[in-house]
Structures are given as structure tokens and as C-alpha cells.
Symmetry: C2
Subunit: 499 residues, 2 copies
């Protein structure tokens, strides 16, 4: 891999870049161990793997907070780089990461890491039994520690703001307060309008589809989309994910269910969106923290752009539907492309976020954002959480979860320290639609190749050079995610309204 | 994984054991990265992976030579442990490892590691072109550094002795000089006798065997042998190997060629022998250097015992041949067990060590042992090596390699710093036969389960507690590997001579 050790950076940064690359190598090793854990590790090896991950994590943490490293970052910050240079961008990012790490006492970081592990284990037991009470006490302990953590950042406007900034630089509840109400209202109106119309038939998407054939199709599809298999892989795991061990090794996973081919296909397209973002980052950034997306929301904007905006469009499937029909002739030979498109765009309230359509998806998120803010600010009690969840859910969707597994226990995020993460999913959807209007104002490209060229040129190659609000402003003129383009996109697609 | 951090060791060793476990965790991470590199890594990720491995290797080396760690080892060495205790065994092993590491200047170790990588890359190019000259200069540089390395151990009887001790504790050329001549003579005599008889028919082993069916059979076979798949895996790679990431995650690989099912099957049995040794080690030793075989030769004694002594015996195949016939009825339904056994025990001079039969195998090794000793002691020149190889080969086997790829380039060992490694393969074969006479004096067990029980009880559970010569003495009464039982075993099997 060409990496920063061999690239044309300001030579004064050489010692700092060497340390960055070392930290990236260790993080890559952690990622390999994590990938293996979810993809190939035998079941009996879990405890040993956890130990290995802990040992490596401690070492990475030590390297990332080493006083000699901190000195190098400080020295670099005092150098006089052009504001728009890669060097300035790198130093900005390193300073931010270091400041965040230094603000938290090592002892608290250790307690948090252990409590994360403990609460996640409690969640697994609770999920298996579909009984929130089995992890309620553990969640209380974790939330208490997270409040302690948030208090390490007194400059944040609130505890929730401190958490938000960890996942999306600069995001505040003030910003969310501007975005959520119009988005929620727009979605509720739209959902009611859609539900008033007859639902399309999607029964042919629930017939028996051979598992190997699904996977083989997905491999052809992702390769044709532009995923580079000489620098990547596709494997199976319980939950689809994307990981990378440097820009030259980006891996995606999916899952296969015989009677739900759309699950496998759209998971692949989604993860492929993440992966092509990583694969498209400028080689110069390898071995530095710039070799990542601009933010979690930006990353999600790409996975969702590929999955929904492109991946459920006629333009996209004109390329791939003939192959899909050839692969599953018994199930699809009498299904015209138009009927297939209607089926994969079916909108319908359902309980599980990860399986929901693009209209209801953000209502799932809004519910989580409202509840997690109230949780971390101590405005609802953990014991009340399942009932509050179910009441809110019923208000938004008109249906009520029958148990905790299809309610409050469905996502691991809160139980593994991820309060503040969910908003990035929502913002990703909004940013995706903003970018669609800006970059593809004349309509979606006819081929994935054309789409990828534009996205690489305008977004991917910049990696994490710009802060997300700055990048969004450069790309769209607005520094704040705007729900209007997303709502316009949905109304046009699902109600046939003119642009 | 239960590991040494939670086990009944002398409590004074706790700080030392913590550091041992940390080093083992890092080595496990290295092993995961190495496994992935050979099994699943996309081709374009090689350079990045090399960088990650180098970064981790430097960190492990630092931890293993850290003065504070060395102090703990020294303190432990001054404690008064029972000579036969686990504690004494652990300290003995740690002292040996530390002494070896401290004897070599870090600067030399670094140069060696880099030259290893460089020469191995040169070998790959030379192998692809089947032209030794492409790596001759690089090999000269590597050998020069290895002589420098050997000179760090002035207490060794010779440079070759210094190299030998790295791979097999206590092994010297004096010992080899006692073993090799009678072994060589015995094998040459035996080979001539076998070649004078008509060769059995093995043409049915070169028909078309479905690749997936071969793998599925091997999975059933290894599982029935006792390989624990809840703590292990079987995958594919170019060269079969066994690796472990702790006692609870032991992985084997094999390769599949459609017209050579025996290659896949016996590779699996061989690696399974290594793997079951690892899986059988006492849990108490996890996280310490005792969680390994007694030596490379001991490890090889087990892989070869399973592969050849048991794995090509009627006792073994009575259990598995019916399944094999059911799996490949078209190829095997008219082949009786006896004919199958004769075919898999075919003896025939051939060029490639890894594909040779158990009679000629050690002649391949003896050739390498003689040449590598002459190389490291500067008694033959690198430029002459291909010719010397071919002349010697022709003398031993009566056939002459047509090119470097089937001659001097076939094994990577010398080109990756492995001078001194080959003797462990030979000793493994001898030890395997010595153990057969001792542990199974009344004949081989009727089931793999019975064999595994004995081997676990007498060998595996002890891990690396005893030095190899000490362990061999405890098991057989002789501290030195003896070629006589091996020759007796071969003569009985291949010539039908009475025990």
C-alpha cells in the first residue's frame, strides 16, 4: 500500500505521520480481528478473542495519548500551513481526536469500556429472552458512566450535545431541533397519503430463492457497481457491515434468507456504497485519519444513496434486472421491471428499523433520537423505557410492538455505549437527497459507472479532509442538513409529484 | 478463554504471567493477520498487510525485550520452584527465549527481518520464472546476515548448531551426524528393495473427484478424528498449514485438486495432527509459552503419525473408507480397501518433497540438511547450489530435476531465513515411530478416538512443559531420536517384515 510514509507531505510532518501510520496499522489489526470475529471465528473462541481485542485496544490507546505523540501534534499545530492544505486538514483532525481523548481520564475510559462489554452481554441475554428487565440495571450503570463521560466536555451545550459531537463533529441538539419537526411532519403526512393508496404486490419477493444464487448475483452486481474485488471481499455475517484494514482492503458482508432476496440484495448495495466511498479516497491519505469518510452521516449518505436513491431506481435496475430474471426465472420471468420496482419500493409500517422502507425509516430514527436524548438527560427512567417506546411507536406507526425484541431491544446501540449515534443515520438520508439534487440535477445517471465517477470526483477522494458541515457547504451551499430535498425526493418517487 | 490470568499458578508469578498473556495476545493478533493473508485477503492488500505485520512485530519484540519484563523473568528464575513444577518449566522456557532475544542486537534483528522479506520476494520471482539466478544474490546477502546472527551465539559448537537450536532446542550437528548416516543407508536399501517389486495400481486416485465433495469428506473425516470445530476451522490455501490464536482457536487449511484427492485428504490428516496436539494442551498453559508443542520435531511427530502411521493404516481406513466410497462411488465402488491402502502407500522417487511418500521423504530432507549445513558454513557457494542440488538428487533418487522449480527452488525455507528448520521434519518422523513402538506396542488402535485419548494423555496435555530431549526420554527412555524404530516400521509396512 502506498501510504503516508512515502507520500508528498510536508517533510516536517514525517515523525508525526510515522506515528499516525503505526496507530492506523494497529487499528487495522483490530479491524481484522473484529471482522474475523463476526465472519469466520469458531464459537468457542469468543473469550480469547475478547482478550486479544482488549490487549490491542489498550496498546492503541497508549499510542494515541503518548505525550511524545501529543507533542508532535502540538508542534504541527504551530506550523504555518495553508488553510486549505491537506496538512492543515490532517492537523485539525489529529488535534480534535487528541483533545477528545485527553479530556477523558484513563480510569473513566477503562470503566466505560468494561461497562460497555458488560451491558452488551446483558443485552444479548435480554434479547434472547425478549425481556428488557434482564438488562435494565446494567443499562442504568452504563448511562450513569456516559453522563460522567459527557461531563468531561463542559464546553458542550448539554450532555446530549457532548455525545452527538463524538459521532458527528459539530452536531448539536439545537440543529436537530430545527431538522426533526419538519421532517417528522413531512413524513407523517406522506405516510398517510401513501397508505391511502393500494399497496403494490410484492408476493413474488417472498418465494424461494436459492441462497448460493442470491450471493452469486450480489457478487456480479457489486462488481458491476464498481466495488473493487482485488482490494475487497464479500462475505456472510449475521448483521451486514463494512470494515476496512486500510484503503486497499475494504470488506463488506451480507446475509442470505431464502425467502427474502431483497434483504440480501439491498444490504449488499448499502454496504457497497460504504465500501466504494472508502475505496475512492485519495491514496495520499492512507495511513492517516484522513483516510475515512467526512463523517458517519456522510458515510451513511453514500450507503443510502446507493441503496435507495440509485438502488431502487429504474435507471439502476435497467442494468441489472435482466440478470436477476435470468438467475431466478421461475420466480421472476412473469414480473415486469415496473412491478419489481414497485415491490422493492413498498412502503409499510413495520417494527424493525433495519428492515423498514425509506419513508418510515426516519420515523424509526426520530423515535430513537427523542428517547435517547431524554434518557441521557435523565428525563425518562430506564424502567419506563419499554412502555415509552411502545406508546411512542404506536403514535407514529399505528401499530404496537408485541414484545421487547421487536421494540426497545431491537438495536444494540444504546446497550453498547452508542447514545448519540442514531442521528447520523437520519442525517445521512437527508444529505443523500441534498447531494442528489446538486450532483444529479438532470436526473440519475444511466449506469452505476457514471454515478460512481461523479461521486468519486466530488466526494470520495476528499476522504475526511473537511469537517462535515464545511464539506456539506462546499458541496451544496448549506452547512446544515436540510429535510426539504429528502421530502421532495420521496414525494416525487412515491406519489409521482413533479420536481 | 480460561487463561493463565485466572489459573492456579504461584501468585508471585502474577505480574509476569500478565505480561506473558499480553505477548501471547499480540502474537495471536499476528497469527490472525497471517492466516487471513493466506486464506482470504484480496490480492491488492498485500503491501498494507505487510506493513501491519511489521508494526505489530516491532511492538511484540519491544514487549519481549522490555527491561521490566526481563527483570520479572530474572526474579522468577531466582524463586525456588519444584524442578518438575509448571512454574519451573515456564521460567525455564521464558529464560531461554529471553536469552536468545537479548543475544541479538536489535539493529541486526531489524536488518535480518528486512532481508528475509526481500529474499522471499526475490524467491517468489525466481520461482515464477524457475530461475535460481534471479534470487542468488539476495540469498547470499541473507546467508551473510544469518552467519552474523549465528555468531551472536558463541557458545554454540558451530554456526549450524546455533541455527539448529533455534528450531529444535538442544539439537546439534553432532547429534545429526549420529542419526543421518544409518537413516540414509537404511532408506536407500529399503527403497531399492521396494523398487525391485511391482508397483501397485493407483490410477483410480487420479480420476476426477468433485472438489466440494472432497472438502465435505475431509470435514467429516477430521471431525471424526477428533478435531474440535467449535474451537477450530478448516479452510483452503495454496499451501496447507495449521495456525492457532490461542488454545481455543486452532485452524487448519488444505488444498483441493480435482484429480488428486489423496493430496487433499492426507494434507487434512497431517494438519489435523498438528491441530489436535494444540487443542489437547492443558488449559492452564493458555496465555503462556507452554501452550505449544514440546518442539517443532514433536509437533511434526504428531502430524506425521496421524498422516502416515495411522492415516495410511488399515485400522484407520476401516473406519472411513466406506464413507469415501459412498462419496465417490463412480471412482471407488470397484476398489477394495486393500487396493486403496496399497495405492495410498505407493513408494516412488519424485522431485517434490511435500508430495513424496514416507520412504523417500527423509531422503529429500537429508539432501537439504547436508546442503544447508555446507551453505551456512560457507563450504559450497550459492552460485553452485542448483548444480550441487541436482547432482546430489540424482545420486539419491536416480532421477534429475529438469529445472530449478522442481529442484533447489521448491521450498521457501532457505529464502525466508529457515536454514536449520528441515531437520525437525526428519526428527518428527523418527519420533513418531519411536512413540508408535512405545505407546502402541500391541498394534494401532481400532479407532481414531482411542488413538487420540492415548496421545492426549501421554503427550498433548503437557504442551511445552519439557525440553524435547527430556520429554523424549520420559516417553521412550531415549533422549535422542533413533532411526531404528522408523526403519523397522517402514520395513514391516512396505516389505511385510515381521516386527
Amino acid at each position: 500500500m502506498t501510504d503516508c510514509r512515502k507520500q508528498p507531505w510536508d517533510p516536517r510532518l514525517a515523525p508525526l505521520l510515522k506515528r499516525c501510520a503505526e496507530i492506523r496499522d494497529l487499528n487495522a489489526a483490530l479491524a481484522v480481528l473484529g471482522w474475523d470475529q463476526q465472519v469466520y471465528m469458531p464459537s468457542g473462541a469468543a473469550a480469547g478473542r475478547a482478550q486479544q481485542l482488549e490487549t490491542l485496544t489498550v496498546i492503541v490507546h497508549g499510542k494515541s495519548t503518548d505525550p511524545a505523540y501529543a507533542d508532535l501534534v502540538r508542534e504541527a499545530a504551530a506550523m504555518d500551513f495553508e488553510p486549505d492544505s491537506d496538512e492543515a486538514a490532517l492537523v485539525r483532525r489529529l488535534e480534535r481526536d487528541l483533545r477528545k481523548k485527553q479530556a477523558v481520564p484513563a480510569e473513566l475510559a477503562g470503566r466505560l469500556a468494561r461497562q460497555n462489554g458488560e451491558t452488551q452481554a446483558a443485552w444479548e441475554a435480554a434479547y434472547a429472552a425478549s425481556d428488557f428487565r434482564l438488562c435494565a440495571d446494567s443499562l442504568k450503570k452504563l448511562l450513569a458512566l456516559q453522563r460522567e463521560y459527557a461531563d468531561c466536555f463542559p464546553e458542550a451545550g448539554s450532555r446530549y450535545d457532548a455525545m452527538l459531537d463524538d459521532y458527528e463533529e459539530g452536531l448539536t441538539s439545537e440543529t436537530l431541533d430545527k431538522i426533526v419537526p419538519p421532517l417528522k411532519q413531512g413524513l407523517e403526512t406522506l405516510l398517510a397519503e401513501i397508505m391511502a393508496k393500494p399497496a403494490p404486490d410484492d408476493s413474488f419477493l417472498h418465494l424461494d430463492y436459492d441462497a448460493d444464487a442470491q450471493l452469486a448475483f450480489c457478487r456480479r452486481l457489486t462488481e458491476a457497481m464498481g466495488f473493487d474485488y482485488t482490494h475487497g471481499r464479500l462475505d456472510l455475517s449475521t448483521h451486514p457491515f463494512t470494515t476496512d484494514f486500510g484503503l486497499d482492503d475494504v470488506r463488506i458482508t451480507t446475509r442470505v434468507r431464502r425467502n427474502e432476496p431483497a434483504n440480501c440484495i439491498f444490504s449488499c448495495i448499502h454496504e457497497c456504497g460504504h465500501a466504494m466511498y472508502q475505496q475512492g479516497i485519495a491514496r495520499k491519505y492512507a495511513g492517516t485519519p484522513l483516510s475515512d469518510g467526512a463523517s458517519l452521516a456522510f458515510h451513511e449518505s453514500q450507503s443510502r444513496f446507493w441503496e435507495n436513491i440509485l438502488g431502487r431506481s429504474p435507471e439502476f435496475w435497467r442494468n441489472f434486472y435482466p440478470d436477476l430474471v435470468r438467475t431466478f426465472p421461475a420466480n421472476l420471468k412473469n414480473v415486469p421491471l415496473e412491478a419489481f420496482l414497485k415491490a422493492v419500493n413498498l412502503v409499510q409500517p413495520s417494527f424493525i428499523r433495519t428492515e423498514s422502507d425509506e419513508v418510515t425509516y426516519n420515523l424509526h430514527i426520530i423515535l430513537r433520537v427523542e428517547l435517547e436524548q431524554a434518557l441521557i438527560e435523565d428525563k425518562i427512567s430506564v424502567d419506563d423505557l419499554p412502555a415509552v417506546w411502545n406508546d411512542t411507536f404506536e403514535r407514529y406507526f399505528g401499530i404496537r410492538p408485541a414484545n421487547d425484541r421487536e421494540g426497545v431491544l431491537q438495536d444494540v446501540h444504546w446497550y453498547s455505549g452508542g447514545v448519540g449515534y442514531f442521528p447520523t443515520y437520519m442525517l445521512g438520508n437527508l444529505i443523500g437527497a441534498m447531494l442528489k439534487e446538486r450532483l444529479f440535477a438532470d436526473g440519475l445517471p444511466e449506469t452505476p459507472h457514471d454515478a460512481l465517477s461523479v461521486l468519486r470526483d466530488r466526494i470520495y477522494r476528499f476522504g475526511a479532509k473537511y469537517a462535515p458541515s464545511d464539506f456539506l457547504r462546499r458541496l451544496t451551499g448549506s452547512a446544515v442538513p436540510d429535510p426539504a430535498p429528502f421530502l421532495r425526493y420521496l414525494r416525487e418517487k412515491h406519489l409521482g409529484e413533479a420536481k
